[in-house]
Symmetry: C2
Subunit: 256 residues, 2 copies
């Protein structure tokens, strides 16, 4: 099943952006009249009939060839999951590892990816353009309608203070390596406690950098309601810890 993406849905029609149009009509050789499936990245899948390609200028600017498609049906919350998961993950030294993680957690199912720069982070930047493309491609590939939101990189402190009060059904978890707080609760046990079929569980997980969180960051997180959590007995790399946290939530709330 081939999925396309459009960020321009209007009355009964949508427009494929230039890159998607090229892939649809040049690479896959779709023709006007063909049926195609298009997500809006916000959760809806549209069944469409491809129309003609359009000219190269919009708003007086050249944008390459784009294609119109007529909407003939739609499915809301397509490929959605039964939880809301925000992963705040510090950049890895090797950016490939972060990009791989972003792809995997998107396939598995997350809602927000927040790159957080820790006080001890060696890498302090990320190529968000590349990450956006990876999130879109993994969303299409895993048959989901909603692309995870990618927040702008911010410090871990900014992320924590920006969260505000936790709601009653929100679980905030912090995974870090140092042995200050022990024994820590195991993530599956904490998730089992919030299994409530009526409400959508909301989970936020903070994953530290290779050098771990600073004591000040841990303190700020605890003050904001984060619970220190164990991801099991293995020592996991940053990106593997992020994947493990996403899998724990996915496997705890498996069905739509």
């Amino acid at each position: 099943m081939e999925i396309f993406y459009s960020d321009e849905v209007f009355d009964g029609f949508l427009r494929l952006p230039a890159e998607e149009t090229a892939h649809c009509m040049r690479v896959l050789r779709h023709r006007p009249g063909d049926e195609i499936d298009v997500i809006d990245g916000r959760g809806t899948l549209y069944h469409c009939v491809l129309q003609e390609e359009e000219g190269a200028a919009r708003h007086g600017k050249s944008v390459g060839q784009t294609a119109l498609a007529r909407i003939v049906g739609s499915e809301a919350s397509w490929g959605s999951h039964q939880y809301r998961l925000t992963l705040a993950v510090c950049p890895t030294k090797n950016p490939d590892r972060y990009e791989w993680m972003a792809e995997k957690v998107t396939e598995v199912g997350i809602d927000t990816l927040a790159p957080g720069i820790g006080e001890r982070s060696e890498r302090r930047g990320l190529k968000t353009d590349r990450l956006h493309r990876i999130l879109l491609s993994a969303t299409k590939q895993s048959l989901k309608g909603a692309i995870p939101e990618l927040l702008e990189p911010q410090t871990v402190m900014e992320f924590i203070t920006g969260l505000g009060e936790a709601s009653a059904d929100e679980l905030r978890l912090i995974a870090y390596c140092s042995d200050e707080v022990k024994p820590r609760a195991f993530i599956m046990e904490l998730l089992a406690k919030i299994k409530a079929p009526e409400a959508t569980p909301q989970v936020t997980v903070l994953i530290g950098p290779e050098g771990d969180f600073s004591p000040a960051e841990v303190q700020a997180a605890m003050a904001a309601g984060f619970v220190p959590v164990s991801l099991g007995s293995s020592r996991l790399r940053t990106e593997t810890a992020a994947i493990t946290a996403a899998e724990a939530v996915y496997l705890s709330f498996p069905f739509e």
Copy 2:
């Protein structure tokens, strides 16, 4: 914590192979008398005192500089887990994806990785040398004493017929995409059933290629006691399905 590897453990001493010696003495600048930690790849961690480097020839063959280390203590089953997991995973079209998966499932914790060539596999070979290096490095990195066994690539049919009878405490699972068998049991529910604190649960999971298993392969697997399993509602790539299966077992039997 820096871990080295030796495949030559004898009475009270062990020998670091040339590559490990170079890393230990040239890169990390360890000197004779330094304490180092060495795994044998079969489950034991040895605390050692580094001795002098040795000459370059053994059995009449040049092998580069190797170093002896005197064993002063040891820990059996170091970084072990409370289950036995065999993952049989068909090669992915892109070999990077397979190597990444191998690293991640090693960090999480598996015992055997069996590359299985499906009838519909597009890729029919794998660089096992590279995979061996990746498994070793991920084992050291995640602080485990045992390197997962890497089987030689074989066909899925050979793998299934080679398994023999399932033991009473063994769970065999096959994850595939086609909708012939529905509803499938969810992996976490099947794993919950075998939770037995006294015995070590044994789990074997078959993960198909991009083109899925052939009907003959599915039939052969069912005849060998494999149970069709669901890994949740997301459509996962081959390597993500393998990671998800490993995480499901790891998160179900979290502690040593």
